[in-house]
């Protein structure tokens, strides 16, 4: 404990500490020499591409992937082209950028996933340099080619290559460059000797550097007076023009800050938009550094940059002093959110600014509340009464709450579990003397640390800091564990943190199952069984996704087995289609009850199968068949015909032809369609329909003949309408003929003729007609029709012919009350007399009324 500050180095106001994370588990003969190294941030994996020992044409380089603790995860000889750069994506995939612009993607375990190219132009010109960068859009790749042109891809998962404009005067690679993400735009900042340019999508803007000495002098004077003056020039403010050539640059983790290193050994630090200067330090080292990275933390006290040379590591901040460490082996720096990790051949270290909470507590002779509380707790453990003294001191200043907070916070920043425990115990001790201190921060810190310690474990090898963990969230951490196939740990963490099943355990299990199905040596049966047993009770598992993965690995049978477990049949359909199990897909779609899905499958089948098979398939699935029929009715009439043909559905075929005949304008075509309909109806043994259709044809021919002869427009009318038209136009003979030919029932014909004659007021003809023979509809209709045409005179003629039963009605129809009364009384029908009575008005003859009433009562008595 006493040595906690042993590795602290002061830099201005702040302290920096370098702690050892791991002793590397790898055994590299030459350390990191002659290696292409890429280490992912957030304690990610490390990839090494080791050049062969003896440069010969046959020897191949070796690609190795290690965890942060140096545990080997994959190792294989590199068989593709020469690699320019390695890099990691946000989802822990390894990018290998080759000289010819091809980017190969491998997973953590060295399995090849896919590849893409940075453009055709690159193949010829070769990639000179490449950088992998991260932005809110994902992982991007930037390259500069032999033709000195930059190409960018902002997100490799949604590949859109952008070729940036030409940089004037640039030959070969620039002296140094970085990718910046600003204002939702990705730009390249590059230095070519003395010149600085900003490249964006459309233009290449040179950063103006003052060449006139007067200005520079003036500038220098101003700067000498106040180093932080905001300069109006666009050039990096305060960058002395003498120290002109920029040899290295670094952008901070958040893209907010930029550091430039000049060949004069000066380090300029400022904002990434080149507007503000933070500081300028003369490092007095003139050799270009090997690597330069920012070392900041959120809320840090001062910005600083870590510069690495072959044997020297230098931390430079705002003040003129620097911290220098000697390096005894070849190392690589990895910028982190809150520090810099230094990976060497044997050690893995973290260099960071000491957080203020830790500083307050552990600084020698610190009197901060947290420090006092820690001291009090120490005394308490020793059962010394001094504990009380310390506590009292804190309480007197009433800063106990603050003390607890400091201890909790500091515990989060400490790497050693022992230190964490001491701090947390002190916090817990202090909490006892506080009545209403909220427990959440303490509890969640304990939880977080438990999770962090378990992933920092040597075998897991993810050296996350608390700050990084909060930034990356639990979900992402779980993902990373899953990528590393550390399923049990991931599930434990989910359960421990009580993550909802959908996001937690179920997700892990799904990944596990997806991995499980790729185990080629195990038989389908046992995998399917294992998966179902493990996943059985977990909520929200999508078996179709797992099955899809199995299919991708070429295990169709397994995929089908797994799909069986999928409870939602709709989910199974797309994969079944992909696997060409279309029949099964169709029945599953129907099972799901989702007609859109059925329709999707049907359209798919239609394109996949030949007609006959397609129709046969549909035939066994009435739901799909009727759906397809609906489609055909709207879109493909001819297909509909084929469909009926296939089924030998003659009835429907007949209907189809009849329907088609209405759309046909030409009579001949229409008749032939109807003839086809007749044939089909005959085949369907539907004699009635066949006959009706034949009659329709006959009628059409008749109408045409008459239209031609007499100039009538009859075509298309129904039989009734035709007759009516003929009768009203005095073609009685033709009407008679139709009447006979079509065996129109007498009643109908009489009604028809009657109304037609009345409508054209042909009373003479009507009388003739009435006398022609006995009316099959009686004579009451004659009366009614006449009355309807307001011809009472004619109506009267027929009243006498009406049957006795209808006499009353007939009389009433012509408004002859007396006649009606006579008839009613004669028939002695109570109902009829009442009807007549109801039609009587006060003006009716008294005598008649009396007679009626009398007759009614006698009739009623009976």
């Amino acid at each position: 404990m006493a040595f906690i500050t042993a590795n602290w180095n002061p830099l201005g106001e702040a302290f920096y500490r370098k702690i050892e994370l791991y002793e590397m588990g790898w055994s590299l003969r030459d350390g990191l020499k002659e290696c292409l190294v890429a280490a992912a941030p957030y304690g990610g994996p490390i990839a090494l591409l080791r050049q062969p020992q003896r440069p010969s044409s046959s020897a191949r380089p070796q690609l190795e992937i290690y965890s942060s603790s140096g545990a080997n995860m994959a190792s294989f000889p590199w068989k593709s082209g020469p690699v320019r750069q390695l890099g990691w994506t946000v989802c822990d995939d390894l990018l290998c950028i080759q000289e010819d612009g091809t980017v190969l993607i491998y997973d953590l375990f060295g399995a090849f996933k896919r590849h893409f190219s940075m453009g055709n132009e690159v193949v010829q010109n070769q990639v000179l340099e490449a950088k992998v960068f991260h932005s809110p859009y994902g992982t991007g790749v930037a390259i500069v080619t032999g033709a000195s042109r930059f190409t960018l891809a902002t997100n490799i998962d949604d590949l859109k290559l952008r070729r940036l404009p030409e940089v004037p005067g640039l030959q070969g690679a620039p002296s140094c460059w970085v990718v910046l993400t600003q204002d939702r735009q990705t730009k390249v900042l590059l230095a070519n000797g003395v010149d600085l340019y900003i490249l964006d999508n459309t233009s290449c803007t040179p950063v103006v550097r003052q060449t006139q000495t007067t200005y520079s002098l003036l500038c220098l004077i101003i700067l000498a007076l106040s180093p932080l003056t905001v300069c109006v020039f666009q050039t990096p403010p305060g960058l002395s023009p003498q120290a002109c050539s920029i040899v290295n640059m670094a952008v901070s983790f958040s893209y907010k800050y930029l550091a430039l290193f000049t060949d004069s050994g000066h380090l300029w630090m400022g904002s990434a938009n080149l507007k503000d200067k933070l500081s300028e330090v003369d490092t007095k080292v003139r050799t270009p550094p090997k690597q330069m990275v920012w070392c900041r933390r959120p809320k840090s006290q001062q910005p600083s940059v870590v510069i690495m040379w072959d044997r020297l590591l230098l931390v430079a901040g705002e003040c003129t002093d620097t911290i220098q460490y000697t390096l005894d082996e070849e190392s690589v720096c990895v910028a982190e959110l809150d520090g810099v990790r230094i990976i060497g051949g044997s050690r893995h270290e973290l260099l960071q600014e000491v957080p203020s909470a830790c500083q307050d507590i552990f600084k020698i002779a610190s009197m901060a509340p947290g420090a006092l509380l820690l001291e009090a707790h120490k005394e308490y453990e020793k059962s010394s009464q001094k504990a009380d003294e310390y506590l009292r001191e804190i309480k007197e200043q009433s800063v106990l709450g603050e003390a607890v907070r400091q201890c909790v916070e500091a515990a989060g920043y400490e790497h050693e579990p022992e230190t964490q425990k001491t701090l947390l115990r002190a916090a817990s001790f202090g909490k006892c003397f506080l009545s209403n201190y909220p427990p959440e921060p303490f509890v969640s810190m304990c939880r977080d640390l438990k999770v962090l310690n378990s992933v920092r474990e040597y075998t897991v090898g993810i050296p996350l800091t608390h700050t990084q963990y909060k930034q990356m969230t639990v979900q992402v951490l779980i993902d990373r564990l899953v990528y590393r196939k550390l399923y049990p740990l991931a599930i434990e963490i989910c359960r421990y943190l009580k993550t909802p099943e959908y996001q937690g355990v179920s997700r892990v299990l799904k990944h596990w199952a997806c991995c499980k199905v790729q185990q080629k040596e195990e038989p389908d049966e046992s995998i399917a069984h294992a998966v179902s047993v493990k996943l059985g009770e977990a909520a929200g598992i999508s078996y179709s996704e797992i099955a899809a993965r199995a299919y991708e690995c070429g295990r169709t049978e397994l995929a089908i087995k797994l799909l069986e477990f999928e409870p939602r049949s709709g989910e199974q359909v797309p994969l079944l289609l992909k696997m060409k199990r279309s029949q099964l897909a169709l029945s599953k779609a129907i099972e799901s009850g989702d007609t859109d899905l059925v329709y999707t499958v049907v359209t798919y089948l239609k394109n996949e199968m030949n007609r006959g098979d397609f129709f046969m398939t549909l035939r066994n699935q009435p739901v799909a068949l009727s759906l397809y029929r609906q489609f055909c009715k709207h879109q493909e009439q001819d297909t509909l015909k084929d469909l009926f043909n296939q089924d030998d559905d003659h009835q429907e075929l007949g209907n189809f032809y009849v329907k088609a005949s209405y759309k046909e304008k030409k009579l001949e075509a229409r008749l032939s369609l109807l003839q086809s309909a007749v044939d089909e109806y005959n085949k369907a043994k539907n004699e009635f329909a066949a006959k009706a259709t034949e009659e329709e044809m006959k009628l059409l021919r008749f109408q045409r003949r008459l239209d031609e002869e007499k100039g009538e427009a009859l075509l298309g009318l129904s039989l009734q309408e035709t007759l009516h038209a003929l009768l009203t136009s005095n073609f009685h003979k033709q009407a008679e003929q139709l009447y006979r030919d079509f065996r129109v029932p007498d009643k109908r014909y009489w009604w028809l003729k009657l109304t037609a004659l009345a409508e054209k007021d042909d009373w003479e003809e009507m009388e003739k007609f009435a006398k022609s023979k006995k009316s099959p509809i009686g004579y009451l209709p004659f009366v009614e029709v006449c009355v309807k045409q307001h011809n009472k005179y004619e109506a009267k003629k027929y009243v006498s012919k009406v049957t006795p039963e209808q006499k009353v009605k007939a009389h009433l129809a012509i408004g002859d009350l007396e006649g009606a009364a006579e008839a009613a009384i004669e028939r002695r029908s109570e109902g009829e007399i009442s009807t007549v009575l109801s039609r009587c008005s006060p003006t009716t003859d008294r005598a008649l009324l009396e007679r009626l009433n009398r007759a009614r009562s006698t009739a009623a008595k009976k």
Binding site: G593, Y599, K663, E695, L719, P745, R748, W751
Partner: protein, 603 residues
């Protein structure tokens, strides 16, 4: 009908929420599309849209003009760039094979182009709008095509929509504790709903609707084919109510303009007469007119102050009532003119004889005369169907001769209509028992066992017997005709058909609710082709027993449409039992709509 009203009927839930949901979503979608735009909509969608968001609302959200979709080039008066939003009902789903999702009802197709057509940007969005509250207790899915698509064409794409509608109601007004149903479609809709419930998350809340009853239209095809004689039904039969709105023609309004009137419970006069038998309406209206007159007459004896309060408080209400009253009197008069004529009485008489199974020969000759005289085609067809349904099919001789006469009268194209009617079982030929089984077994042999079930289902309409007589006896649907039925004091639901017939659909609902299930109705369900179910959906069984208000609110969903008469009957039943019915239907139907949907439009 005041005698047996139970006064403790529960309050209905507020369905305007559904409207608000639909409107908010539409507005949200429109606002997603930047700039001013013109809205193009199908003619059919005009009235429903108006109920959801009227022109003023749309204009407030950057809609410039509303157009009906016509197949003509679009000329817009807006500036250079035009954004046209096409609102398509998914009935035209073939247009959008990629975006099809029957769950969602409408597609907003936004087309953004400049005047020279050189730039196009087409995006599609989906507007899920499937429930339109027509009144306090009527919700419509506005799917008139449902009946034909499902029952005739066997197209099941609307089943899921029905399930989703149920799901929406469940999530807003549920959880439902008990679900009853009858019919194949009902069962599928129920299953689709259950699936959606299982997929989604459950929220525990106070239920506003307790029980649900699902019924297929083809369970009872007789009722919608009868002439309606309840005021609201009659208005629908004669003037056709569209989306809760009717257009009264000039001879009703006694002016030279026709007027569009909203018919719902907001209309006080209408609300009082909508469920009344037509013969009672006139008396009621004249009484109302007299009351109104007295209210106006009060003025004569008033001093200035009283007059002032009268003008400010009562006059407006009276004026409003006056206007409505005169409209309804006009409508009744016009209906009277049409309906009290001799032939209407005879028509009703024939219908009643058919329902009672009495003097069938006379009925047939009446129908024959009807056809011969070329009275309206739909009416003739309606009578034919009614005859076939009540008589379990026509004798082959009658079937042929009536069909032949019908074709001669109304044209050969009805050959197709007859084929449709036959398929649906609306108009069939009596088959000697043997032939039917032979055919069934033939079908059975054709295919293997599994599909045989499905096929027989598909063909079931062929074999479907309506069994109306037996059902009528069993459920006592046709009251004895010798008793005089007092229409002023209805004693049962038969009053909606002048006391001649209790609608089968409503009787079933009554029976099932009374028995809390289908026990004791086995014979009935067998005659109705089965597919009945009763499920206790709520997991908390103890709660279900408590007779809360929500338990007495019952949602009845008609798949394939229902008539206003049935709604009136249910309202009557509700008043008797102290419960409230909410009717959800795929569309409001009547005999004309039902039969017109059977025609094969070859235009």
């Amino acid at each position: 009908m005041a005698h047996s009203v139970r006064r403790d009927a529960p309050e209905l839930p507020d369905f305007s929420l559904l409207k608000r949901l639909a409107r908010d979503q539409l507005i949200y979608l429109l606002e997603q599309l930047p700039g001013r735009k013109d809205l193009f909509i199908e003619a059919d969608l005009m009235s429903p849209l108006d109920r959801i968001a009227n022109v003023t609302t749309l204009k407030q959200h950057d809609v410039d003009k509303l157009y009906k979709v016509e197949h003509k080039p679009i000329v817009s008066t807006s500036d250079q760039m035009v954004r046209g939003c096409f609102l398509y009902p998914l009935t035209n789903w073939f247009l959008f094979p990629d975006v099809v999702n029957a769950d969602k009802y409408y597609v907003i197709l936004s087309v953004y182009f400049d005047i020279s057509y050189s730039y196009f940007d087409v995006t599609t969005d989906e507007w899920s709008f499937y429930l339109l509250p027509l009144d306090d207790d009527i919700i419509s899915l506005e799917l008139p095509e449902f009946f034909r698509d499902y029952f005739l064409e066997g197209d099941q794409r609307w089943v899921r929509t029905a399930g989703s509608a149920l799901h929406l109601l469940h999530s807003v007004y549920g959880p439902f504790s008990k679900v009853y149903g009858i019919g194949r479609c009902s069962k599928m809709a129920y299953e689709s709903w259950r699936e959606q419930v299982e997929e989604g998350e459950q929220r525990a809340r106070q239920a506003e609707i307790g029980n649900v009853f699902l019924i297929d239209r083809d369970v009872d095809l007789v009722t919608p084919l009868c002439s309606q004689v309840v005021y609201e039904g009659l208005v629908d039969d004669i003037f056709r109510i569209k989306c809760g709105c009717v257009e009264f023609c000039p001879d009703v309004t006694s002016s030279d303009k026709s007027i569009k009137v909203m018919l719902n419970s907001q209309d006080k006069v209408f609300n009082e007469i909508r469920n009344e038998h037509f013969s009672q309406v006139f008396g009621f209206l004249s009484q109302k007119a007299r009351n109104l007159q007295t209210a106006y007459d009060k003025r004569s004896g008033m001093n200035i102050k009283q007059m002032k309060t009268f003008v400010s408080e009562e006059l407006k209400g009276l004026k409003q009532e006056h206007r409505l009253l005169s409209l309804h009197i006009g409508a009744s008069e016009s209906m009277m003119k049409k309906k009290t004529k001799q032939d209407f009485q005879e028509l009703l008489k024939t219908e009643h004889s058919l329902l009672e199974g009495f003097e069938i020969r006379e009925c047939i000759s009446y129908i024959e005369e009807h056809i011969n005289r070329q009275v309206s085609m739909v009416e003739s067809m309606r009578l034919l169907c009614l005859l076939s349904l009540t008589e379990n099919g026509l004798l082959p001789k009658d079937y042929r001769s009536l069909k032949a006469q019908f074709l001669q009268s109304y044209g050969i194209e009805h050959l197709l209509t007859f084929s449709n009617l036959k398929q649906l079982g609306l108009l069939v030929e009596q088959q000697p028992g043997e032939t039917l089984t032979v055919m069934e077994s033939r079908v059975g042999k054709l295919v293997n066992d599994k599909t045989a079930g499905k096929l027989t289902d598909a063909f079931s309409s062929l074999a479907k017997k309506s069994n109306f007589r037996a059902l009528g006896r069993r459920l006592n649907l046709v009251p004895k005709s010798d008793e005089e039925y007092d229409l002023r004091v209805p004693r049962d639901m038969a009053y909606i058909f002048s006391g001649a017939y209790i609608p089968l659909s409503c009787k079933l609902i009554e029976q099932v609710l009374e028995r809390d299930g289908w026990t004791g109705l086995e014979e009935v369900t067998r005659m109705l082709n089965g597919h009945e179910f009763a499920v206790t959906a709520g997991s908390n069984g103890s709660d279900a027993r408590v007779k809360t208000d929500s338990q007495r609110i019952i949602l009845v969903m008609f798949l394939g449409g229902c008539t206003f008469s049935e709604i009136s009957a249910l309202r009557f039943l509700g008043r008797e039992k102290g419960i409230k019915f909410i009717v959800v239907t795929t569309a409001i139907t009547n005999s004309a709509r039902l039969l017109e949907s059977m025609l094969d439009n070859h235009a």
